[in-house]
């Protein structure tokens, strides 16, 4: 399993290596056809692409949640800080610092906001005091959640649910956060608010981000690096500023010009 050459190659600065990964669903549908990229420490990396390009699959391959959708990695390796993650459970990865916020938020609807947040902290087995401090940190980040902490999460607005989902993931004190379509179905104002918080977490707390996002114009304003996926392959990979400057890439691969940003 542990390939020493790879461990040496993995520079300290690149936390995550995705190397030639193929993923299939139900032993039939090939969703990724050899995806390779790296996520440097402290960066915000955007995964771009149209519906079905393989963004969600890539994220789930990294967090090892593919199994829950009856998928699996059929080829290639993913390396997290020099360790091949293939045989680790999603729970192991959370303990090692990778946490995913799922597409469509996935709050626990019957749990209160506070219980939702607390549940994210259990993985580290923190003390009661420590858990409390982490909770206060999340409330400082999302004051709105504190007001609604005793309400059931299922009754919150979409934006508030996204905050709960992000806050819940933050409770695990992640090194790398995977976000799947954080802007989906949210009002533009709320989307800006959420991306500002991502920027703050990145700048102040040094959290590394890997974001899947259809809205390329939006996410490239915040990301350092963009990886464009098309039909399960990497079609382009460049610094965000370069990608933004190349309208052809955005038009061709991301299905929309600046005047008509991708819907959803």
């Amino acid at each position: 399993m542990g390939d020493p050459a790879r461990t040496l190659l993995a520079s300290e600065q690149t936390l995550l290596h995705v190397d030639g990964v193929e993923a299939i669903y139900g032993d039939a549908i090939l969703a990724l056809r050899g995806v390779s990229f790296g996520v440097p420490k402290g960066a915000i990396v955007a995964l771009l692409g149209a519906n079905g390009a393989g963004k969600s699959t890539t994220l789930k391959a990294v967090s090892n949640l593919l199994g829950a959708s009856r998928g699996r990695i059929s080829k290639g390796t993913i390396t997290w800080r020099g360790e091949v993650t293939g045989r680790l459970s999603p729970a192991d990865l959370v303990r090692k610092g990778i946490v995913q916020v799922l597409e469509g938020r996935h709050c626990f609807p019957q749990l209160t906001v506070e219980e939702n947040l607390l549940s994210g902290g259990f993985a580290r087995r923190p003390g009661r005091r420590e858990l409390r401090d982490d909770l206060d940190r999340i409330y400082a980040l999302f004051p709105r959640l504190k007001l609604r902490r005793r309400g059931k999460a299922g009754l919150l607005s979409g934006g508030e649910q996204q905050m709960v989902a992000i806050g819940r993931a933050l409770m695990s004190r992640p090194t790398l956060m995977l976000l799947d379509e954080p802007s989906m179905g949210l009002a533009p104002m709320i989307v800006e608010e959420i991306f500002e918080i991502i920027r703050r977490l990145n700048a102040d707390d040094g959290v590394t981000f890997l974001l899947a996002e259809q809205n390329a114009h939006l996410v490239l304003r915040y990301a350092h690096h963009g990886v464009v996926l098309e039909n399960g392959r990497v079609a382009a990979s460049a610094p965000a500023a370069d990608l933004l400057a190349r309208d052809d890439v955005i038009d061709f691969y991301l299905g929309g010009s600046a005047s008509s940003p991708a819907s959803n």
Binding site: G67, A91, C107, Q110, L111, S119, G120, F122, A169, S172
Partner: protein
């Protein structure tokens, strides 16, 4: 007064149904599996206890040992049955529990034989006269035990980290995995707790009717209880159990003579069918909160 007596004795036997049903609800909530083996677990737990008891172990020793046996059983079930079937459809898992029920019953027979065992918990079954109401001391004891058990479960579920994790898994399994909750561990805990509930139910039933193989058939009585109360609700299991117990007892007395036979054997199922027609999610079936 006679009516009240019939009603209370019905309610008390309903409490027993509720205990069996709670075991179902726990597993159903946490894993979406309808555990057909719950009845065999009741039988197995009661048999284990009674055999230990007959070999001279007092209650305070036999009980924890049986609890331990149920926990080991839960871990084994998770390892050998649930884990290989992870991410399969609920139907597959249901069929697996169907098979499991035969394995557990076979194991019980191989280990303990098929004799009927008398179980004496040391509680008198004496009728007590409370303001004209005839209630047996054993029934009072049994209901107290059931109430305490439910209260302990309620506190565990609402206050502890384990309880929050269990409810999180019940709400959204994928999201629970995504934040590092270990499903295998949760399943082991849930099956253990439901083994404990099975033990309590088995002891209370067994003390009444003797510990024998027909005990595993309570699973069939739990079915209408669950349909009436809602599969995913513990309060539903309690209310459903009480409702079934009370109505079938009343029906036996008041409708029985009209049809010249026992009504209680089938009345609960008719009631369940009526509920399926009118309110398929049951009395307390979780109404999904959705906001788009």
């Amino acid at each position: 007064m006679f009516f009240l007596n019939v009603l209370t004795s019905g309610l008390l036997s309903g409490l027993m149904y509720a205990l069996v049903a709670i075991g179902f609800v726990l597993i159903y909530k946490a894993s979406g599996v309808f555990n057909f083996a719950q009845g065999s677990m009741v039988l197995f737990a009661a048999l284990t206890f009674v055999v230990l008891n007959e070999h001279g172990l007092p209650f305070w020793a036999a009980f924890p040992i049986t609890v331990l046996v149920m926990i080991v059983g839960a871990v084994l079930i998770e390892r050998l049955v649930l884990r290989p079937l992870v991410n399969r459809s609920p139907n597959t898992l249901f069929m697996a529990t169907l098979g499991l029920s035969f394995v557990i019953e076979g194991l019980a027979q191989a280990l303990f034989g098929s004799d009927v065992h008398q179980l004496d918990l040391g509680i008198d079954d004496m009728p007590l006269d409370l303001w004209g109401l005839q209630i047996s001391t054993f029934d009072i004891f049994a209901s107290a035990v059931a109430v305490v058990l439910v209260a302990v479960l309620a506190v565990l579920f609402s206050k502890t980290r384990m309880g929050i994790s269990l409810r999180a898994v019940a709400d959204d399994t994928l999201a629970a995995q995504s934040i590092g909750i270990r499903l295998p561990r949760i399943w082991q805990i849930v099956w253990s707790v439901s083994g404990l509930v099975a033990l309590v139910a088995g002891l209370l039933w067994g003390a009444r009717q003797g510990v024998q193989f027909s005990l595993s058939l309570v699973v069939l009585k739990a079915m209408p209880v669950l349909i009436i109360g809602g599969f995913s609700s513990i309060p539903g299991a309690i209310v459903g159990g009480l409702l079934v117990g009370a109505t079938e007892n009343l029906a036996d007395i008041y409708i029985g003579p009209l049809v010249q036979g026992s009504v209680s054997t089938w009345f609960a199922y008719i009631l369940a069918v009526a509920f399926l027609l009118i309110r398929p999610s049951g009395l307390f079936g979780e109404t999904t909160i959705a906001r788009v």
